[in-house]
Amino acid sequence: MSGVERRSDVSPLALSDFTVVTSLGRGQAATAAALHEGRSSLARCTFDAVPFATYVGEVAGLDDVPLAGELAGFDCRNHRLAALALRQDGFAESVAAARERYGADRIGVFLGTSTSGLLQTELAYRSRDAQTGQLPPAFDYAGTHNTYSLAAFVRATLRLAGPAFVVSTACAATAKVFGSAARMIAAGVCDAAVIGGADTLCATTLYGFHALGVVSDEPCRPFDAERRGISIGEAAGFVLLERPAARHGEDTLFLLGVGESADAYHMSSPHPEGVGARLAMERALDAAALRPADIDYINLHGTATSVGDAAEDRAVADVFGTATPCSSTKGFAGHTLGASGVVEAAFCALGILHGFMPGSPHTRSVDPGFRSRYVREGGRARIDRVISNSFGFGGANCSLVLGRVA
């Protein structure tokens, strides 16, 4: 590492375990295989009978796994997907072991989501009482609609009792929770944290992004000269973050730095010169005490909107020059909105662990006006340190530096 002095008390934290579920599959192995093989899972949207043509990354089987028993009040598509993810990769068992080590009250739960269980409220509005206009009696606001309900559900499932909240900064939410958790651990508020989150398909986002004119009618083509907008996906991902310890072997990955910024430009459009994006990347490198040349791969936000990709290309070229390989993985499972931060952190972690760099399915020819070194075809590569970008509505930006400790 370079000799740049750290600007805060936040030091590298171990990703003791992680898991992810997207339309690519359930858990690390299925996800890594699809990423390595360049296999996209985007499919024509049949969700909720939307009347416009679009492709989505829909997770199969969520209708068949209702939450029951003491968790029944949390039952909604979003928390079902979260539950599914917690069951993969032995993640819940890793958290149980951490609970034994630290105590339930010493493990924080800091999650992100954009829409939480909003689909449940959409369905409830369609079933309003014809006379009174009241919502159906079974509707559970605190368990499903409220943004915090995701963390309440995960806390209850994993039997944790430490500090918790949900960060909801649109598509940067599950990247920013890495920063919150790192600060909480540095402040001694907790010893470990379960971070990540979930976002699921709902009418609000499908119709909302369509109203903004940024939904593609074909599978999304990030950084392509003929990109036509986003494909929406759904996902859940979780990471167990803790201080480095002797039990962490050489395959352990670390959170090396987090950089956060705001665009101060527009509610739903990025700064055209990528000023906020550049600041987020610079601050993340600074926090990691790394130089741009220390980064082997950049996982772009790259949603395939016209202005978003152009702004990010400019920011990446400004910070890294034109030699560092980069790609957006949105073509694999879509833009999973609030979940995209942790999903792409997991994609990066799999690339480091299994020695591959993900490519960009559906991207045919990179925009000739772009300067960054865009990787269309992925393949075997040794990557040790990566940066992953997440940018959201309201100009919320967050970059994560992850990797091995040199």
Binding site: R7, S8, D9, V10, D105, S114, L118, T121, E122, Y125, R126, R128, G133, Q134, L135, F139, Y141, A142, H145, N146, T147, Y148, S149, A151, A152, A161, P163, A164, F165, V167, S168, T169, A170, R183, M184, A187, V189, A203, T204, Y207, G208, F209, H210, A211, L212, G213, E260, S261, A262, A264, H266, M267, S268, V275, L279, G392, F393, G394, G395, A396
Partner: protein, 280 residues
């Protein structure tokens, strides 16, 4: 133990019309008259944006601007933590109503106003701030969660951070399943060290729940504290206007509490061993 210093406060609630006007109400010197929450039109936004701004944005920007004016700090360089139990109720109700109808065309503006971090987005634009900003939710304990995040940022990052907490009501039918009291918003500019603008110091510990949260003696203020999540901040605000160090307990989730020692200006000066507050 986390420690930070309050430099400025902004407040909007029923009968709590800005911080200076609320001081005698919170100290008990004047009666609390719960008139409807007055949302001052913020000069931070250009006139066309001001008219279109939703209630959460107007509230959050008004208290934020008031707190920064009092602190004399540059909002454009200060990190922010926004926290709300629910976001803008009117906006989400309108979207849900449209989506339940036969014509599901959404307004793009309404859609971007539906995200939880809408006030944070407008704040960044209005103050030209590219400083880090987060937007949290913790249901009834959103104020406590926001205060924890802000105190942790001030402590670990050793930088000023402003906490802006706000809550507004849902219209029917959501109001029946999530009743919220009068609209309420508060902003606290927190610095990691005392400055010339310091009005009080806060020392905070997160501890297991034992005993009850602090309450208010004035029944109308206590009712407000119980009915609007952001008004769970009122015992802390009342402590800021008291003449001596006050212990305040805020509930945080079922298992925990935030234990605060709130020390007004004179006490801060004594604590730092100087007759004048030091520049930070």
């Amino acid at each position: 133990m986390m420690r930070a210093y309050v430099e400025g406060v902004g407040l909007a609630g029923p009968g709590l019309d800005g911080w200076p006007a609320s001081l005698p109400v919170l100290s008990g010197a004047a009666e609390h008259l719960p008139a409807p929450t007055r949302v001052t039109s913020t000069a931070l936004l250009p006139p066309n944006e001001r008219r279109r701004a939703v209630q959460t944005v107007r509230l959050a920007l008004a208290v934020g601007a008031e707190a920064f004016a009092a602190a004399g700090r540059n909002a454009g360089e200060t990190a922010t933590v926004f926290t709300s139990s629910g976001g803008d109720g009117e906006t989400i109700h309108e979207i849900l109503t449209v989506l339940a109808s036969s014509n599901r065309e959404l307004s793009p503006t309404r859609f971007h106003n539906s995200v939880h971090n809408t006030p944070a987005g407008y704040w960044g634009i209005a103050t030209e701030s590219r400083a880090p900003s987060s937007s949290l939710c913790c249901h009834d304990d959103s104020f406590a969660a926001g205060l924890l995040e802000a105190m942790v940022q001030a402590t670990t990052d050793r930088r000023a951070v402003t906490l802006i907490a706000y809550d507004v009501q849902y219209p029917a039918p959501l109001s029946a399943v999530r009743p919220i009291g009068a609209p309420f918003a508060v902003a606290l500019v927190l610095a990691p060290a005392p400055t010339a603008a310091t009005i009080a110091g806060i020392a905070m510990t997160l501890r297991p729940r034992s005993g009850a949260a602090s309450t208010l003696d004035v029944p109308t203020l206590e009712a407000l504290r119980r009915s609007t999540p952001a008004a769970r901040s009122l015992p802390l605000l009342a402590a800021l206007v008291r003449g001596s160090t006050t212990a305040v307990t805020l509930d945080y989730l079922a298992e925990m509490a935030l234990a605060l020692d709130v020390t007004p200006l004179a006490g801060v000066a004594a604590e730092t061993g100087r007759s004048e507050p030091v520049a930070g």
